[in-house]
């Protein structure tokens, strides 16, 4: 019976995420049409003659525009094209299909964001626990204030500053790209080292700006949890402080942190777009900015969809984790 309700929770989530994915696809279809003067047709007119006829056809497919189809028909052919992976052809990387461009760039972004998020999550939560535990001590009380101010720093500005000081002036770190010029992509220590070396600064910029959010959430939740009666009981039983903090406090405070994972990840993804742009890091954030400046609409739409899907998948993994961490979900 427990298992059954857990499955229902998961099934509900799958349904929700599929619905969100459909809504994102529909947004992608509607946005160009809603804009004043129908941006999609205007762009088509502008693109005429400038780009090869094949690309024009690809653009038609991506927008689902075709003069002899009704908007409803256009919508359904757009859905069909998108779901079968026909995202059109990129102008920027002509004549490479959008799906292939994304396929080449997505791993870099997943690596960078995944790497940075795991570090930021772990560090942020540890500092959060410390700051709630030692409340009243000078450092523990100063940390949240410091991180609050730091969370108001623009991601790209931190990235620029790091690039200038550590990369350009001191020459400690590379200032662009994902791996060194003389390195071929193969499974060797040298390649791995070069990749990590190049990811250090971009990842560091993401970590220092996103860590504060995790930290504040953990701290505030933990402070609230520690005021609960069962913590008082544990203290009265004379349990060691460390055990109360870890097993009674932090464990319970972690759950709400996971619930708001979706929004936090959204922020990180947004920040990563700017950071990738600053470091010329060959991920999809960099490609998105390229696409925008080249009016490469098929690529832009494809990247938007892939970003939404990635965030949905990440949230789904967190939901799965959640069912293990919080058995109450399976009981209700």
């Amino acid at each position: 019976m427990h298992r059954g309700s857990g499955l229902r929770f998961i099934a509900n989530k799958i349904g929700l995420y599929l619905l969100i994915f459909w809504a994102a696809m529909t947004l992608n279809f509607i946005i160009p049409r809603l804009m004043p003067g129908n941006a999609a047709s205007a762009l088509m007119a502008k693109a005429q003659g400038k780009i090869p006829p094949a690309a024009l056809k690809a653009l038609e497919a991506a927008f689902g525009i075709s003069t002899h189809q009704s908007p409803v028909q256009q919508y359904f052919s757009y859905l069909k094209n998108t779901l079968t992976g026909h995202l059109g052809i990129s102008f920027t990387y002509f004549p490479v299909p959008v799906a292939q461009v994304i396929g080449e760039m997505l791993p870099w972004t997943l690596f960078l964001i995944g790497f940075a998020t795991i570090i930021a999550f772990a560090l942020g939560n540890l500092i959060g626990v410390y700051s709630a535990w030692r409340r009243g001590a000078a450092l523990a009380d100063a940390l949240p204030v410091g991180f609050t101010v730091m969370s108001a720093m623009p991601y790209f500005w931190i990235a620029l500053a790091l690039l200038y000081v550590l990369g350009f002036t001191l020459n400690w770190f590379p200032i662009a790209h994902a791996y060194g010029g003389g390195v071929s992509l193969s499974f060797s220590l040298r390649t791995l080292g070069s990749i990590l070396y190049h990811a250090a600064l971009p990842a560091f910029s993401i970590v220092i700006t996103s860590m504060g959010g995790w930290m504040m959430q953990m701290r505030n939740n933990l402070v609230s949890v520690l005021a609960d009666d069962y913590v008082l009981l544990a203290q009265m039983k004379g349990l060691p402080e460390r055990e109360i903090m870890q097993n009674y406090g932090a464990r319970n405070a972690l759950l709400p942190v996971l619930t708001s994972f979706a929004m936090s990840l959204g922020f990180v993804v947004g920040g990563a777009v700017l950071v990738e742009d600053v470091f010329n890091y060959p991920g999809i954030g960099f490609a998105l900015v390229q696409a925008v400046s080249n009016s490469d609409y098929p690529l832009m739409q494809g990247i938007f969809l892939i970003i939404v899907s990635a965030v949905l998948v990440a949230n789904f993994i967190v939901d799965l984790l959640y069912t293990f961490l919080d058995p109450r979900i399976s009981r209700t």
Partner: protein, 302 residues
Amino acid sequence: MAKSALAPAATPVAPRAMRRHYVPHLTIKAWVGLSIIALFVIMAVFAPMIAPGNPNAETFLPDMPPSAANPLGTTALGQDVFRQVVWGARNSLLVSVVAGSLATFIAVLIGITAGFLGGWADRVLSFVITLFLVIPGLPLLIVLSSYVPSKGQGVIIFVLAITGWAWGARTLRSQVLSLRERDYVLHARLVGQPWYSIVFAEILPNMASLVVNNLLFAMIGSLLAAAGLDFLGLGNVSAVSWGTMLYWAQNNAALLNGLWWWFIPPGLAITLYGGGLALLNFSLDEITNPRLRKRVVKVHAE
């Protein structure tokens, strides 16, 4: 009174006579935050007196480091950086205040409607809230604004508000759900108060602190998002704002030419102003959530 906004969220607002005497204890953090914000507001309002002249005028020697004539140096185009930072405050503050307020307004509207009506309406609105929460704001912002043909200030503000309201709506909705079940709301229903009276007289005043909290949060969000858009050149690049300053600095390779005085001041201004808002929000949290106040809980033996 504006101060009543700082009353604790969960307790009903005191009767008028008592409320007048309730002055919340502002922490040092709150004062520091308020002072920083006030400083920037003064800077924006009195820009013509603090840094007279057209901020875009290219009348100086280019690439000059800070000096007596140009306290923050000059850009590669021969503009005065100090002048640009001061005048840029106007745009950056305006966008953050207006877009933040608009986003909060939408959040209040949708959050209260969903929480108060419940049932079918709640289910639909909750889905919309989740949708906008899960779709990352900045990529959506980039896609939206790249389709907009003319980049007026109003369009950017509108787009920022559209992408920035969901978090607030979620918090407000759950607060309404809990307030709706309180005895005094039940009482208001039983005596036959109309819905608008219940919403505006019973529920909204008790969420005032949460609304202010969301407003500050949305202002920081809009400030950073607008700066990001400007930096990518998706805003109005001819208007002077902290974000466009960074855009021009980046486009003229200020970094690689060692013009640190061009890209440090605008970023620092964003950080300081945003940090001021964040500090105020931080201390507001402490005021409204007694558990977060200093030394209420003593866990470790001292």
